[in-house]
Symmetry: C2
């Protein structure tokens, strides 16, 4: 196994012993068979349509070597964005919601939760909204441009030319995603389903963001998707938390509302002109609890910094006449939410707060072309 | 843009001119906006359940550098298999069908076709079967182990230690997937929706098969999935065309039937004991038309060789008392099917032939645990 040259392989059973020693896990254990834990709803899901498609993409010509030497050189498509969708029966006139995932993750973030409960993708559909779930360009089913890696392998490019591929360790997820201060020690009021944290670990994929051209093609793809939908609520999370702002700047008319869920960073560099554009679209930022926890990540010592930055941006937008609001569930006595708030045990409660805001600030029956 | 150091970027509009010159494309053009082409079925899809989960996976410990230097070292999960599923209302007692994709592709293969028609995933659900669509280990939402790439980047491993990442060029897809002898020149009877070939191109992702341990973890994951489903029809395509055979050898009791769609290769190395095991499970192999076309790929000069190899294997299994059959639609006057037969214009006709075989050889109501 090539992998063993670079990494220590630890079997699940060995890990389980270690985990038990530090009190990490509840009864489901690390050998949890996720399928058996997947819950079946009480009522059927009735869809007018479901399926998938791509947005964007460009054709590039590559050599046989860049294509990995399986066949001759030629063109391939890169920088396209995969999108899966569900349209509820009777909901075709309702406003569409686009759910964009964060760093080292894919659209899976919004599907069945690690402990087998319904994801926000289906929940928003059951509440009447057509839902579109992309994989960011370069991630998951959107693929990535492999040429530089094959060139490095062949000695035709310097090793440093290939970008770093990011993953978060399971250990750093605990403080960084605010499940607890340390691995295996959830906050007493934690809403994250800690017994299923291994299923979250499986959602991780290499993050090739540094391979992407500037600006990130995901931004235009999201704006184009909103345009094709004739208007959509754009929701981002973490790494993509500010993507809805960028999509709105590209096509404000197609973005009916922006929901920024736990953005890694709200930009502080927008011009007054850009703020005026953002003031034309209702904006909601959403943050969980325990934001003062040290993250263990040097580039962001605490999530409170992100919260404060977003408060400042919302303030600028409000000062320009915009409809911009911070949703901090802890202010309403809802405590213990994590960074992975869409997977938390009270994820429907949080979704309901967002849905109420959409109804009040956008109007449910205000869009959709399907 | 880093990419431009390694590849010639050709805009879609420039390509369109070239494409028109050689008569490649019909009116939809290369700027086809796939969403507008996605068709809505006449009747709603009623699901008892839908969602996603993972099968398998192991925890490995990696250094900060192997994780890309975003955070400290620790454990991550690798070699898990992502699975998306849909269970039809009223179909919970019917036998489940698992659809596995081929090389350089993901589970997207089975979803909405490149020209916007219903994929086999939904079609089999509408015919009453719970359907499970994995991304092979190392591909799409299953992720891959990025450590070696980061080690090469850091000079801690030799460039040759990182595996080649495969893509097929759009040009080689024409002869290799048997749309036509040359790019832009479909067979007169071709069933592939040639005007949407650019949407197929977007389905391509880097194939990291050479990164995977031996045996490929997808095989055990498929056998485990069949076990968790308490029996399933296992369908593979192309690269994974023979995976159902391997899953059956790992757990024959859980594989209700094997459907080998255009296998790249049917193994000729099985022992008599293995053949006896395979003779306990109904097996159907399915091939499209135009198999004598030169593929342009040196490792497989023509698909007729694959067909002949599968005929030989089916013969061995039949000689051992097995229920093994070749489905060659051309024998029934159904001509022009391609390697991407599940996306062909007559994909429902082919699906119906497979569904009839499942009903006759397995019994529709013979399994499923959901």
């Amino acid at each position: 196994m090539r992998r063993q040259r670079f990494a220590v392989v630890v079997s699940r059973s060995v890990l389980l012993v270690g985990a038990t020693l530090v009190g990490v896990l509840a009864a489901t254990g690390l050998e949890a068979q996720a399928l058996k834990d997947v819950q079946t709803p009480d009522t059927p899901l009735v869809l007018k349509a479901q399926g998938s498609f791509f947005v964007g993409g460009e054709s590039v010509e590559q050599t046989q070597g860049e294509l990995g030497n399986l066949g001759p050189g030629g063109h391939i498509s890169v920088n396209q964005m995969y999108v899966r969708f569900m349209v509820p029966q009777g909901g075709a006139g309702n406003v569409s919601v686009v759910l964009v995932h964060g760093a080292t993750l894919t659209g899976k973030s919004w599907e069945t939760t690690p402990d087998g409960r319904m994801g926000w993708d289906e929940y928003f559909v059951r509440k009447g909204h057509p839902v579109y779930v992309p994989d960011q360009v370069g991630r998951g089913r959107s693929g990535f441009n492999q040429a530089v890696f094959n060139n490095v392998r062949a000695g035709k490019a310097a090793a440093a030319d290939q970008p770093a591929l990011f993953r978060f360790s399971d250990e750093v997820a605990w403080p960084n995603f605010r499940f607890g201060l340390k691995p295996g020690a959830p906050f007493l009021d934690s809403q994250f389903p800690a017994s299923a944290v291994d299923e979250l670990a499986k959602q991780g994929v290499p993050d090739v963001s540094r391979l992407l051209p500037t600006p990130n093609p995901t931004l235009k793809a999201l704006a184009d998707l909103a345009t094709q939908l004739k208007g959509a609520v754009m929701m981002g999370h973490s790494q993509s938390g500010a993507f809805p702002l960028e999509a709105a700047l590209l096509n404000p008319a197609a973005t009916r509302a922006l929901v920024l869920v736990e953005p890694g960073r709200c930009p502080d560099t927008y011009t007054d002109e850009q703020i005026k554009v953002l003031a034309t679209v209702p904006i909601l930022a959403v943050f969980g609890d325990h934001r003062d926890t040290p993250t263990g990540i040097s580039i962001r010592p605490s999530w409170q910094l992100s919260f404060d930055g977003c408060q400042a941006l919302l303030g600028r937008i409000k000062a320009a006449g915009g409809d911009a609001r911070m949703l901090n569930p802890a202010d309403q006595g809802i405590r213990g939410n994590s960074h992975m708030i869409m997977q938390d045990k009270n994820n429907r409660q949080i979704a309901d707060l967002i849905l109420q805001w959409i109804d009040a600030h956008v109007g449910k029956r205000s869009g959709g072309n399907r």
